[in-house]
């Protein structure tokens, strides 16, 4: 790692970038080893990291209203993970590495010394907020990436469309063939939530 760091030309922003990419991946490998878990694996996300994403998404996309769709009920996790899988493998590895660091960050940043997935919902919120509003740019960057992926997975589920009065099927500019396909999707997913 030191040799790689020295290879980077000595501009501060390049060093910072190195820490945010290669440094992040290496740190995540160390974390995985320390926890006895498999390391980040592009195109085949290890279960423990899937669980971190699931917990993060559940809190980030949570709504209070009783009738609101729940991320875990609408397939948001699968959509988020497949969105990440479409990125270049090196980017996906960085994203999984971010999840690994989120999992162990409470040991350093609180609110109590435990894995992120072992915290209560309220504690997870506090922890995520500490990333969102951190003085450390790297943590804010991490939160922005995490939030974008979580939201992309959730708010693209047709089961959420009713909440925002959005519909592809009812859009008159969409070709009839697609409107019919989307009408089925929107109906099935709405049904799934109603009876979920």
């Amino acid at each position: 790692m030191l040799r790689a760091l020295l290879r980077v030309r000595q501009r501060p922003e390049e060093v910072a970038h190195f820490v945010q990419t290669a440094g992040l991946v290496r740190a995540a490998r160390l974390v995985a080893r320390a926890l006895g878990e498999p390391p980040p694996r592009p195109r085949d996300c290890p279960e423990w990291l899937v669980a971190v994403m699931d917990h993060c998404q559940a809190r980030i996309c949570r709504m209070d209203a009783e009738e609101a769709p729940e991320p875990r009920e609408v397939g948001a996790l699968e959509a988020a993970l497949s969105f990440v899988e479409a990125m270049p493998a090196s980017k996906e590895e960085e994203f999984q590495s971010l999840l690994a660091l989120i999992e162990v960050a409470p040991y350093v940043f609180g609110p109590r010394r435990a894995r992120f997935t072992a915290l209560s919902g309220e504690e997870q919120d506090a922890h995520l907020q500490s990333w969102e509003l951190s003085r450390l740019e790297g943590k804010r960057a991490g939160f922005r990436g995490l939030k974008s992926v979580a939201m992309m997975g959730f708010w693209t589920r047709p089961a959420t469309f009713g909440w925002i009065q959005y519909s592809v099927a009812e859009n008159p500019g969409v070709p009839e063939r697609l409107r019919q396909e989307w009408a089925k999707r929107e109906a099935v997913e709405r049904e799934g939530v109603d009876h979920g």
Partner: protein
């Protein structure tokens, strides 16, 4: 995946390394590359276009954001500056960014042309006007009709008119548009006269060839002249590397976008004694400001962008106000990422989505960042906004709020961290550059440019006024890299026009 048209092959088809030759290789088939391909093919030149992404037919456009964004945008729609504070959305595929843009058309403003003339650039008068006219005719550019201005854009126009600001309706290049509003995730109606439809397909009919799913890793050169390119197939499903390919050519045209063309030139060790390539990166960073209205806005219905405000857009070195205000819209997946906060507070804001009109405050940036190659098609974009540019962001956000209030918004969301939900202009007017910084607000850039700019002096520019590299014979540039400065507006028409003159100047 669409069946490829005659003349187009996939680099992933075979298992053996691919060896090809052509007189001219065009790297990247967006606005610039498409234009060069078409112009050269029309002249009977043996021209081969190489494209990293897919070829899309209208039937490929599923309208599912989470599926289409990674296919239509570089790096799976995750490209950003290295500090992640600016998302950089750039197209990929035959047609490049014209596949997902909202087809806005503007010529280079006179203020920019004057600035470039002062830098010594020639041929920007009558000659360039002819290129603009030819491009506009070929692409069916026309003023956006009244009945295509949706409620989101009407509100911007209403605010602009109420304040007496300069602004109005824009022009676009569409023919078969059905106003589905899905421009940014791939038009299902083939409604745009994009580079694929208007240039690449006609070029194939007159003998051009295209290789898709192919990433150029190096421009080959020896003894001061280019001799071809080499690279690798890229699996469109997994992004995995495939077989190598090599193409011999007498000339190479870089049109892979400002970041990727510059990164490729750097990786290829193109002569650059002054270290200019990749520097001076401009990108029009923009902040979304959202107004909440009592009436439904439903920005997803109809043409997403058709109106602008130019009141605060000045050109020239000493310009004090450098903000282009234009309507903004995103489908729910992307919109949710831009809406501030998370959890129930964010969910409540998303509940307002049908009542939200948005204005993007886009900065005509004087600050220049830089580009460095990353692994494969990844590019490292170093771009940290200094205070002078943050002041422009703050100006743009304040004025966007003023326009939205003037249009009748009951509340405006300023997506700072933490977010400000303001009820009147007194509160919004308090926003200053001191309140802003990385991630506050989240910025989005869709116009990276100026990484291999034109000029007459090899000491201070990378290519000549017609896109030919000053030092490496046979290397040409035909994309947004060419701009010597940020342009303060949509770049597609200037790219098409400059690429046309680059093509005309290529002699074999």
């Amino acid at each position: 995946m669409a069946e490829l048209p005659t003349g187009m092959i996939s680099a992933c088809e075979g298992r053996e390394p691919l060896k090809l030759s052509a007189q001219v290789v065009v790297v990247g088939l967006g606005a610039g590359g498409g234009m060069v391909l078409r112009e050269l093919a029309d002249r009977g030149v043996d021209v081969l276009g190489v494209e990293l992404g897919d070829y899309f037919s209208p039937e490929d456009m599923t309208l599912a954001e989470e599926e289409m964004l990674p296919r239509l945008f570089l790096e799976g729609a995750s490209r950003a500056t290295v500090d992640m504070s600016v998302s950089v959305m750039q197209g990929m595929g035959v047609g490049g960014s014209t596949l997902h843009n909202t087809s806005l058309c503007k010529r280079l403003p006179q203020g920019i042309l004057d600035e470039w003339e002062r830098l010594g650039l020639t041929g920007l008068g009558e000659e360039l006007r002819e290129d603009f006219e030819a491009v506009e005719e070929a692409l069916n550019v026309h003023r956006i009709p009244d009945d295509r201005v949706n409620r989101n854009n009407e509100l911007l126009l209403k605010g602009v008119e109420a304040l007496g600001y300069q602004g109005g309706r824009l022009a676009y290049n569409r023919k078969l548009c059905q106003a589905s509003g899905f421009c940014e995730v791939g038009c299902p109606n083939d409604g745009k006269e994009n580079a694929a439809r208007a240039l690449v397909l006609p070029a194939l009919k007159v003998g051009a060839r295209v290789l898709v799913h192919a990433r150029v890793d190096r421009v080959l050169h020896q003894a001061g002249a280019v001799v071809g390119v080499r690279g690798r197939a890229r699996d469109p499903e997994t992004g995995a590397d495939g077989v190598p390919f090599e193409i011999q050519a007498d000339a190479v045209v870089l049109s892979a976008s400002a970041p990727n063309s510059a990164a490729l030139a750097m990786k290829s060790e193109v002569p650059d004694p002054k270290g200019l390539i990749g520097s001076r990166l401009h990108m029009h960073p923009g902040a979304f400001v959202m107004g909440v209205f009592d009436e439904p806005v439903q920005g997803w219905l109809g043409v997403p962008q058709s109106a602008e405000c130019t009141e605060f857009l000045e050109f020239g070195k000493g310009a004090k106000r450098r903000v282009w205000l234009v309507s903004g819209f995103a489908h729910p997946g992307a919109a949710a990422g831009l809406m501030p906060g998370f959890g129930p507070a964010h969910g409540a804001l998303m509940g307002l989505y049908p009542h939200v009109a948005a204005v993007i405050a886009m900065v005509h940036d004087h600050y220049g960042g830089r580009v460095a190659p990353g692994p494969a098609e990844r590019v490292n974009l170093y771009y940290g906004l200094p205070l002078s540019e943050l002041e422009q962001v703050a100006l743009g956000m304040r004025e966007a709020a003023r326009i939205l209030f003037a249009a009748g918004a009951r509340q405006v969301i300023l997506p700072t961290a933490p977010p400000r939900l303001v009820e009147d202009m007194t509160e919004a007017a308090q926003l200053t550059a001191a309140d802003l910084g990385p991630f506050s607000p989240p910025l989005v850039a869709v116009h990276p440019m100026s990484t291999m700019w034109m000029g007459v002096d090899p000491e201070t520019s990378v290519v000549d006024p017609f896109g030919a590299h000053h030092l490496l014979k046979g290397l040409h540039v035909a994309d947004g890299s060419l701009f010597p400065s940020s342009i303060g507006g949509p770049p597609q028409i200037p790219i098409y026009a400059l690429a046309r003159r680059v093509a005309r100047a290529i002699s074999l």
